[in-house]
């Protein structure tokens, strides 16, 4: 699988994504510079990594969406290319209009970094097909603006179309108010577009994919992508 990782000024999980895709999973991985508007058609996967692109100034992702590379990513997505946005990458995908809804400040009004649990809501997507349906993944979050919002009607439509991929839950897979760390509507932790080739999630799968760190639940997501190439 040929992977590209976009580097925005302020991206800081770019090296982590590279480490997992290249060093741990052995995939061909390239850097993509935010100032370049390039043809991405030779890539199998483009990752928008976490971090604080443009310092999260104005609003997380609001400035990055104007980067030249975003034009390339939109074109790539329109042609069916697979795009994964993690944390800040998810925020950028929302700001670019590739995914619906918005991310607002956590209801705790604080940055939260800890291990939480998410439940796999559908395995009928290229990002989750190697997961077990309704299985529980332990995975870290690290964000300040991770509370997902979308209006109730659109949420209903997305649910019906199978666009909700992950929900925050407890260790046993129960979705409760206590297990929702940031106040996201309907505990949504990750979702995809209608065509199911663009996915965004707040938790960090790359932080739980290196065996040395113990937990490798995040590999389920990368393996799902790998199994198609």
């Amino acid at each position: 699988m040929k992977c590209g990782i976009v580097v925005f000024p302020g991206s800081n999980c770019d090296h982590d994504c590279y480490h997992i895709l290249n060093k741990v999973l052995g995939q061909e991985t390239h850097w993509l510079w935010h100032k370049d508007d390039v043809d991405l058609s030779s890539f199998d996967l483009v990752v928008l990594p976490g971090g604080f692109s443009y310092g999260d100034y104005l609003r997380a992702g609001a400035i990055s969406r104007f980067s030249p590379i975003i034009n390339s990513v939109i074109l790539f997505a329109e042609k069916g290319g697979k795009v994964l946005g993690i944390c800040n990458g998810f925020q950028i995908l929302l700001e670019s209009g590739l995914l619906p809804g918005a991310l607002i400040q956590n209801h705790t009004r604080k940055f939260i970094c800890k291990n939480i649990f998410i439940r796999v809501e559908t395995i009928n997507t290229p990002f989750t097909q190697e997961c077990k349906d309704q299985s529980v993944l332990q995975i870290p979050i690290a964000h300040h603006q991770g509370s997902y919002y979308i209006d109730p009607n659109s949420l209903k439509d997305m649910e019906e179309r199978g666009q909700i991929l992950f929900r925050y839950c407890d260790a046993k897979g129960k979705v409760t108010a206590e297990s929702n760390p940031n106040g996201s509507v309907s505990s949504v932790a990750g979702l995809c577009n209608e065509k199911k080739n663009v996915m965004g999630m707040m938790p960090h799968p790359e932080r739980c994919a290196d065996p040395l760190l113990g937990n490798i639940d995040g590999q389920n997501i990368f393996q799902s992508l790998l199994s198609q190439s």
């Binding site: 000024p9 800081n12 999980c13 982590d16 480490h19 976490g50 971090g51 690290a142 790359e206 290196d210």
Partner: protein, 745 residues
């Protein structure tokens, strides 16, 4: 020329210089300084920059060792860890700014220490903080705690350097003067270290990073080098404002430029800004510099040379590069969206000539400015309070029949309760190196592309240091080493941040002298070099000094990262063992403070030989894979250490049952803070092997109980002393700090 004030004795005094010092300036340069030059002397001769009170004592610290690549005197210390890599680390204070403006004060403290690290060519891979606040019942303390944690979180998280641990303490002695000590560790190729040197004549001076503004002027001289009083709030403009986004770009751009061999030297513009960086780099190379301030990128119009030279605007660096490579350097910086400009060159004469709008505004020899401040021979005298509090008579302390009440009170007290509320606001996982997450004895980071890992612990029990600064400081070193040993590491180096009151008072200087000796003697005994450090004096408000707080950060090396040890019990039915022995040492203990509101007596005795022995034994147990957990006994004593091992179990919370046969008082047995003790756990079948090894070490070792069950039970001489539901007490320990912070009255 601008309308500069006339030099008067009042102006000299306002610049924090004594009349003797001013006379010395006149002698050294043979004329009166102009206003800008006076400003330069003011910052460079300040306590903060010149170390004039502390330097004579610091010279006695051991700074050498086979792994030391760079000791004190540079931006940070460097230790070789083998496989072609070196770790670069330092701890530094940002106390006064954080008290006046907690968010920016703490944030810029983090930014400053990070620049000290990547200035040397190392990528910052870990941050830690030692934070000390007043009593949480005071709403100002909660405001400061929130602001400081928010500032660290905001700055550290944005730069993508994980904050992997640290310590947070509360004591009324910090009500009027909090401590924010920031530590950073970076990783570099051992042959790729950069020093803050200017090299030979003709080299170019390249200004890099943020534009210069009017913020932070006299931060080092007037804010950091004097006590707090009623006018403290007026000093807020001396606090700098940080921009972590620019810092992140600066890290990437600098590390990219430092790949080239035409980079001669680098120094960040920290305290005293452009002045200290230019003078110090020139001085280290016995050279001089010629600069044109008109070329400095400025944030606003109308800035005077005085302001440009003394500004402490953040996220700025000074590079010295070989001529002919400026275009390449500037193109890399522009790629990262950073300002850069060649503002001068290195000259042969050891002089600094600074022009502004075609006029020479500074013409000074480098030596008097950098090294001219006379070391002060401050008087020392033991403080009177020692006579009043030196004795603790245990007979006068009522002894409880059962320990439950005290146990729960201690678990809930903010010094012992989980610091989860703090560290969950820090990104402690980014860069995928954090093998041991916060909340353990030491943070552990793997070194990618090697089998190795480094462990870091930041420690100081300032109550002990108040009762006996020598012993207290030695204990800080011992505990730091013990903590990294518990994680499976061998201590290899140390950095310290010495926080004390007003050095003009002989009692404070005595505390300082004692503490430095304590650190020095302990480091010599344990064979740990001190490779960097920082001194913060004048930590007092209206004459009330903080407890002496010599914070140490110990760095340890783990050769095989798969043999990293953690403090949590792993399985039900494992044996719990205690290495070391307990004495009736309640002096300066958390128990004494929380239950009786006293801080008196003598701190626990540190038997260095025993300490070394305990550490060696524990490391051998880990290396031979005989144990499943190891945890140091510190604040709250043995029973709190066992409880913490229960709470930190990775999968489920394990209960424990402990049995003692002892003639000690029950409360002393439980809560004494005797040194050189480690709680371990292991499968029953390894018991004989461990006991045999203990015997060969002549080590005090006893099996004290078993893990498992839903209760936490302690029996002393067959009598139940503590019995609590483990989930209930874990909840108290976990949530107590957050509840304190959240209180609204």
């Amino acid at each position: 020329m601008h309308n500069e004030p006339e030099i008067s004795s009042q102006l000299v005094k306002d610049h924090g210089l004594t009349s003797d010092e001013y006379k010395r300036i006149l002698d050294l340069i043979g004329r009166s300084p102009n206003f800008t030059e006076l400003g330069i002397f003011s910052v460079m001769w300040s306590e903060h920059c010149s170390y004039k009170s502390s330097r004579p004592f610091l010279k006695k610290l051991p700074t050498e060792g086979p792994r030391v690549l760079q000791g004190p005197g540079e931006n940070a210390g460097v230790i070789d860890i083998g496989d072609g890599f070196a770790v670069v680390f330092k701890i530094e204070s940002h106390n006064h700014p954080s008290f006046i403006e907690p968010h920016q004060g703490a944030a810029t403290g983090v930014g400053g220490i990070m620049r000290d690290i990547f200035t040397m060519g190392a990528r910052p891979i870990a941050l830690m903080d030692s934070l000390r606040f007043g009593e949480l019942d005071d709403s100002r303390t909660r405001f400061l705690l929130n602001g400081v944690v928010d500032g660290i979180s905001n700055y550290g998280n944005c730069t993508g350097v994980p904050t992997v641990g640290g310590e947070v303490y509360f004591d009324s002695c910090y009500n009027g003067n909090i401590l924010v000590n920031a530590f950073c560790l970076g990783l570099a190729k051992s042959d790729g270290i950069f020093l803050a040197k200017a090299g030979g004549a003709g080299n170019l001076i390249l200004y890099v990073g943020s534009k210069t503004g009017r913020d932070g002027i006299h931060g080092a001289s007037l804010l950091a080098s004097s006590e707090f009083d009623e006018t403290t709030e007026d000093k807020r403009p001396t606090v700098q404002v940080g921009d972590p986004f620019t810092e992140k770009l600066l890290i990437e751009a600098c590390l990219e430029i430092m790949e080239f061999d035409w980079v001669v030297g680098v120094q960040d513009m920290g305290a005293a800004g452009l002045t200290s960086s230019s003078f110090e780099m020139a001085h280290r190379s016995k050279a001089g510099v010629r600069m044109d301030l008109s070329k400095v990128p400025l944030r606003e119009k109308g800035m005077t040379p005085y302001e440009i030279l003394l500004s402490e605007s953040q996220e700025r660096m000074l590079f010295v590069i070989k001529p002919g490579h400026e275009e390449k350097a500037i193109s890399i910086l522009e790629k990262w969206g950073l300002d850069a400009a060649v503002i001068g060159e290195v000259i042969e004469e050891p002089e600094v000539h600074i022009n502004f709008e075609s006029k020479e505004v500074v013409n000074l020899p480098t030596f008097p400015v950098v090294d001219g401040a006379l070391d002060l021979k401050r008087d020392t005298r033991p403080p009177d309070y020692l006579d009043q509090i030196g004795q603790l008579n245990l007979i006068e302390l009522p002894e409880p029949k059962r320990g439950d009440k005290a146990f729960i009170k201690l678990l809930a007290c903010p010094n012992i309760a989980s610091k989860e509320w703090v560290y969950e606001q820090y990104d402690h996982m980014v860069r995928l190196n954090t093998l041991v997450l916060p909340g353990s004895d030491a943070a552990v980071l793997r070194i990618k592309d090697t089998k190795k890992a480094v462990a870091i612990s930041v420690d100081c029990n300032s109550r002990f240091c108040y009762l006996d600064p020598y012993e207290g400081a030695a204990i800080a070193v011992a505990e730091g080493c013990r903590n990294v040993v518990c994680s499976g590491a061998t201590p290899i180096g140390l950095t310290n941040c010495l926080n004390f009151g007003n050095p003009e008072k002989p009692e404070i200087m005595w505390q300082f002298e004692q503490a430095v000796q304590g650190i020095g003697d302990a480091c010599r005994y344990f064979d740990i070099p001190v490779v960097s450090g920082n001194v913060s004096l004048y930590n007092e408000t209206k004459g009330q000094a903080i407890f002496p707080t010599p914070t140490v950060a110990v760095v340890g090396l783990i050769e095989d990262q798969t043999k990293t040890m953690t403090q949590g019990f792993k399985k039900s039915g494992h044996c719990i063992g205690l290495i070391g022995f307990t004495m009736e040492e309640l002096g300066g203990s958390e128990y004494l403070k929380v239950l009786f509101d006293k801080n008196e007596g003598k701190p626990p005795v540190l038997d260095r030989k025993q300490e070394k022995h305990v550490q060696k034994f524990c490391l051998e147990l880990t290396h031979k894979e005989l144990i499943q957990s190891a945890h140091d006994c510190s604040e709250g004593g043995l029973v709190i250490a066992v409880a913490e091992s229960c709470f930190s179990s990775p999968e489920e919370t394990l209960g424990a049952t402990i049995e003692f046969e002892s003639t000690l008082r029950g409360d002393a047995l439980m809560f004494s803070e005797s040194q050189s003790r480690i709680v371990i756990s292991f499968p029953e079948e390894l018991k004989n092997q461990i006991e045999k090894l203990a015997l060969s070490y002549s080590m005090d070792f006893s099996v004290i109980g078993k893990t498992g069950g839903s209760q936490f039970t302690v029996n002393i001489n067959g009598q139940e002393y503590i019995k609590q539901d483990i989930e209930t007490i874990k909840e108290i320990w976990k949530t107590s700090l957050g509840r304190y912070v959240g209180q609204t009255t």
